[in-house]
Amino acid sequence: MNVNTDKPLQVAGQTYKSRLIIGSGKYRDFQQNRQALQASGAEIITVAIRRVNLGQNREEPSLLDVISPGEYTILPNTAGCYTAEEAVRTCRMARELLDGHKLVKLEVLGDQTTLYPDVTETLSAAATLVKDGFDVMVYTSDDPLVAKRLEELGCVAVMPLGAPIGSGLGIRNPYNIKMILENATVPIIVDAGVGTASDATIAMELGCDGVLMNTAIAEAGDPVLMASAMRKAVESGREAWIAGRMPRRLYASASSPVDGTFF
């Protein structure tokens, strides 16, 4: 049904059946991460770039052995970067690591307490990375002007927060997300803030093109079941948005006809 009425998500020329992107952080182990990934139906998964531990046991598998770039679109992100320069270096390392892979998630944070995005550093990093040939999916605040500017700089997707990273507070300001959507010509993906399934559904009902989450799945009591819930939540919100909701009424409207009552 929705095959007919919906177009799949397109990012940087790639087409994706799933509109859910998940992270690979905070899982008990690779095994749980992999099961959650499968349950979520996600085709894109974010990873972090970090130093190898010198002298670590090489027998233990690494993330990319368990979640292979062949099967999934690996989305290296710059989490942990607090300046444009750190973020740019991280993206270049990622590209080298993944044999020229151009798709990255740019995220430049302002401080370690709030993890709120630093929009000025993000803007300058985005400009550099686009010039340098990257396909940039950019994490930002819900400031509609900054979102538009990032699009104009050539980012392939703009990803405003619903609420601070790891807060689980949902979509704090749907009005701003709406403003962003009204002016956007690239995919708008809510990144950060989702805490439970209905948060993801609400994001999609606003008309977003996708949702990115990590903590909501990884820190759920049962991450794999929550991953399944999130798959359905995103599909459900998308279908509801395309179907078009009923109008709200302060007052009631009967579902059963009045005439024909026999008393």
């Binding site: 990873v47 130093r51 190898v52 390392m93 690591l97 044999d99």
Partner: protein, 66 residues
């Protein structure tokens, strides 16, 4: 000869290459990327690039992250 790898000082022989360093660190079979003195060092140059005194090397991998 002294170099710095991932922030730690390391004593290595003269003329050792980056590839040699990676073997030495037993990272051979892993998927890693290398920065030499803050510039990316393409994988293709790992076995030709010889390390020098005070070189700063960063070797990274992909790990779980949001």
């Amino acid at each position: 000869m002294q170099i710095k790898v991932n922030g730690k000082n390391l004593e290595v022989a003269e003329h050792v290459t980056v590839q040699g360093l990676i073997q030495f660190l037993d990272l051979g079979n892993g998927r890693v990327a290398v920065e030499l003195n803050r510039e990316i060092l393409p994988r293709s140059e790992h076995d030709t690039q010889v390390l020098r005194q005070n070189d700063i090397v960063e070797i990274v991998q992909a790990i779980g992250g949001g």
